[in-house]
């Protein structure tokens, strides 16, 4: 008798109909979007703030250096005495006063620039001012040595190294960023999925134990059927939740940004601002084109197929262990000691993925960890966008599936014995003994 579909259906429906599950499903994207909207709104407020910076340049060297921008206006106070300038700035409630004290030689210049303001000024403003002054000063020094402006301009070169593999596959820096984004997203998604829904499976096993229904069920179905039904049913509920999150999140994103006129993609951090500036320099148009080309360059078919296989095997590997833990204990507080050995390789995988795959996707560390079954799903998913030979993927998958089958066997053993054990918290030694029952 194959009861698997029946069990899957029950597990799925119970999860999906559960009140807290429903609330989480619909509330989470709302909260997320609300949070993003608030941050976006606040940073927009910040960006829109008009600043006036007054310049008191006693040397006259920096005449044309400061050009007004959208948010910043520069006022030239040349000719005023310092005390008058300060008073004026205070009265106008300007952002601050940049004071360049008169110096005799260019060499002393650097030590005589000061910025006065009411509060301590923002880092980005100061570094903006500094870079402008530095640039001007360098030009002046070069000019003093007899180099002309046009020579300086001509000396500037922008190097963009073109990358090409031995097979003639071209790639660029942006390619790598895109690959990293895809791999990272895939690996991180798996990590999150395992943590969230693995826990859910564990809780559901514990619930069956504490409600004492387990023996009734077990007299009708094989424990392994119940376990697999539970894992698959819960995973389907998880996938449902994820899909709803993505759709709802997307819709809400559009709705919120049209209603409130907040551009949610413009959550600017100082770094992003610098990147934007860099992009503007290179030309945003070209950048976007590169991006599309880069995505097109990805080994999409390989990526999708590998994602499915590694995701499913990796997830099943971990979730069967979660089920075994749930069966071994009586309540959730007892799970702690068994959680560590599960969480450790997962976190290790994410760290290896983040730190070594970025640095060297085909280096020894990345390669080894993309074969070790407990870390391979995450690490391999991160490596694949960079192009991993099919034999490596195949071998890794084979190892993973082998381990997964072993883990299911192991978990089923623990599960079979554990679900009928009440009252005491087992030790590792006892778990080992159960394997032989």
């Amino acid at each position: 008798m194959n009861h698997l579909p029946l069990i899957i259906k029950r597990e799925y429906l119970t999860k999906v109909k559960n009140k807290s599950f429903v609330i989480m499903t619909f509330l989470s994207p709302l909260i997320m979007i609300a949070l993003i909207a608030v941050v976006a709104y606040l940073s927009q407020l910040n960006n829109d703030k008009q600043r006036t910076i007054s310049i008191l340049d006693e040397t006259g060297y920096l005449k044309d250096v400061f050009q007004n921008t959208d948010n910043t206006t520069y006022t030239n106070l040349s000719g005023l005495a310092f005390d008058d300038a300060i008073a004026l700035v205070k009265e106008k409630k300007d952002y601050g006063l940049l004071h360049i004290v008169k110096v005799d030689s260019l060499d002393d210049f650097a030590d005589n620039v000061k910025f006065y303001s009411e509060d301590s000024p923002s880092l980005s403003i100061i570094s903006g001012l500094e870079s402008k002054i530095e640039k001007r000063l360098r030009e002046m020094k070069l000019q003093k040595d007899g180099v002309t402006i046009s020579q300086i301009e001509a000396s500037k070169t922008n190097i963009e190294i073109e990358q090409e593999s031995f097979d003639g596959e071209k790639s660029s820096k942006i390619d790598n960023v895109v690959k990293l984004a895809f791999g990272g997203a895939a690996g991180y998604l798996l990590f999150m999925f395992i943590i969230i829904y693995g826990n859910m499976i564990m809780r559901s096993v514990i619930e069956e134990k504490t409600s004492r229904i387990i023996e009734i069920i077990i007299s009708s179905v094989k424990p392994i059927q119940l376990m697999m039904g539970k894992i698959i049913g819960t995973s389907l509920a998880g996938i449902t939740q994820f899909i709803i999150w993505v759709i709802l999140g997307g819709v809400l994103m559009v709705v919120v940004s049209t209603i409130f006129g907040i551009d949610l993609t413009q959550v600017k951090t100082p770094q992003q601002e610098m990147m934007n500036q860099a992009m503007q320099a290179e030309g945003a148009q070209a950048m976007a084109e590169n991006l599309i080309v880069s995505i097109g360059n990805l080994p999409m078919t390989n990526l999708i197929i590998a994602f499915m296989f590694f995701f499913i095997s990796g997830y099943l590997l971990y979730s069967s262990l979660y089920a075994a833990i749930g069966a071994a204990v009586d309540n959730e507080t007892d799970t702690q000691q068994f959680m560590l050995p599960i969480i450790m390789p997962l976190i290790l995988a994410v760290y290896v993925g983040v730190f070594t795959v970025i640095e060297d996707p085909h280096g020894t560390v990345s390669t080894v960890f993309s074969f070790v079954p407990f870390t391979s799903p995450v690490v391999m998913l991160m490596r694949i966008p960079f192009g991993v030979p099919l034999w490596q993927q195949g071998l890794s998958l084979l190892l993973l599936i082998g381990t997964f089958i072993f883990a299911v066997w192991f978990a089923a053993k623990i599960y079979r014995v554990g679900i009928l054990m009440y009252g005491k918290k087992p030790t590792y030694k006892e778990l080992f003994k159960w394997l032989k029952y």
Partner: protein, 308 residues
């Protein structure tokens, strides 16, 4: 083939602990078979083996002459001692699910559930959640789920725990009726009065070994000590007592009746018949009470365990 279930020298160990040691039982068709034993004797292990929850290390179990296989699950209905239901699931849904796991179709299960719900007068519970029911009410649901698929073999482990006397009686009558309809029942309990009432066969398991089995009446016959409980009224109690003590082995007895009688247990030798005793007693005193002492299931239980 008159035995529905036969276990042939079944053994099972958990690690170093031997939970069952070559236990054999035979459960006749249509009987109510009491599986008795102190806590931790191995009853539950044996029941779990019959239910294919655990596999025996040695020995085999035959159901209707065939070795146990997966298909037999639908021939067995099991009400475990540790029992419960999904708390947040509705009664109706839950019953349907459990019935389908036993191989019933959804429509058939619904039909039978309606019948049982009416019979036990719980028709309006269909949409309630289990957590809204009392313990006894949940037990009723569990009972229905156990018998719904009309199994040949019913296994009840402490079926009356959690029931008030009225409902316990109701369930007892249902069990008896199921037996009338042809089901065979294995009944595990510590309540000896229900063993007395229901069982016609018993097996006693102690420290992983079966130490006694057979028809309850046969066992009682084997265990009786040829002792008679008598109540006598006489004006001269001391003299009568001395005369009886002279001829027979006498012990004091306690039972209740209306008169201020001499209450005695008199044990007869093999050469004396009850009639001899009775005629002797009538010649000495007025006999108000004369009953053969038949060992109760509880006495047999305690005695047999002590002797082992």
């Amino acid at each position: 083939m008159n035995d529905l279930l036969v276990a042939n020298s079944v053994s099972k160990s958990f690690g170093g602990f031997r939970a069952l040691n070559e236990v054999s039982i035979a459960v006749p068709k249509g009987s109510i078979f009491g599986l008795l034993g102190p806590n931790g004797a191995g009853k539950t292990t044996l029941i779990r083996i019959i239910n294919q929850i655990t596999m025996p290390d040695q020995g085999r179990v035959l159901l209707d002459g065939q070795p146990l296989k997966t298909e037999h699950i639908r021939d067995i209905g099991y009400l475990p001692e540790e029992r419960g239901l999904y708390k947040s699931m509705k009664v109706g849904e839950q019953c349907l699910y459990l019935a389908q796991l036993k191989g019933l179709s959804k429509t058939e299960a619904k039909k039978r559930l309606k019948h049982w719900f009416n019979k036990l007068e719980i028709g309006d519970w269909w949409n309630k959640k289990i957590q809204e029911l009392s313990k006894g009410q949940a037990q009723k649901i569990q009972f229905i789920v156990t018998v719904l698929h009309q199994p040949k073999l019913l296994i009840f482990d402490e079926p009356f725990s959690g029931f008030d006397p009225i409902n316990a009686n109701l369930i007892k009558d249902e069990i008896l009726q199921l037996r009338e309809e042809g089901a065979t029942v294995i009944f595990s309990t510590h309540r000896m009065e229900s063993v007395e009432e229901l069982c016609d066969h018993i097996a006693l398991i102690h420290k992983s070994n079966k130490i006694l089995d057979g028809k309850l009446n046969d066992i009682k016959r084997q265990n009786k000590t040829n002792t008679f409980e008598v109540g006598l009224a006489s004006l001269n109690k001391d003299r009568v007592f001395a005369e009886i003590q002279d001829k027979f082995e006498v012990l004091p007895a306690t039972f209740k009746n209306l008169n201020d009688d001499m209450k005695l247990n008199i044990k007869l030798g093999l050469d004396t018949s009850p009639n001899d005793l009775l005629s002797f007693l009538t010649s000495k005193a007025e006999v108000h009470h004369f009953v053969e002492v038949i060992p109760s299931a509880s006495d047999i239980f305690i005695q047999t365990i002590k002797n082992n």
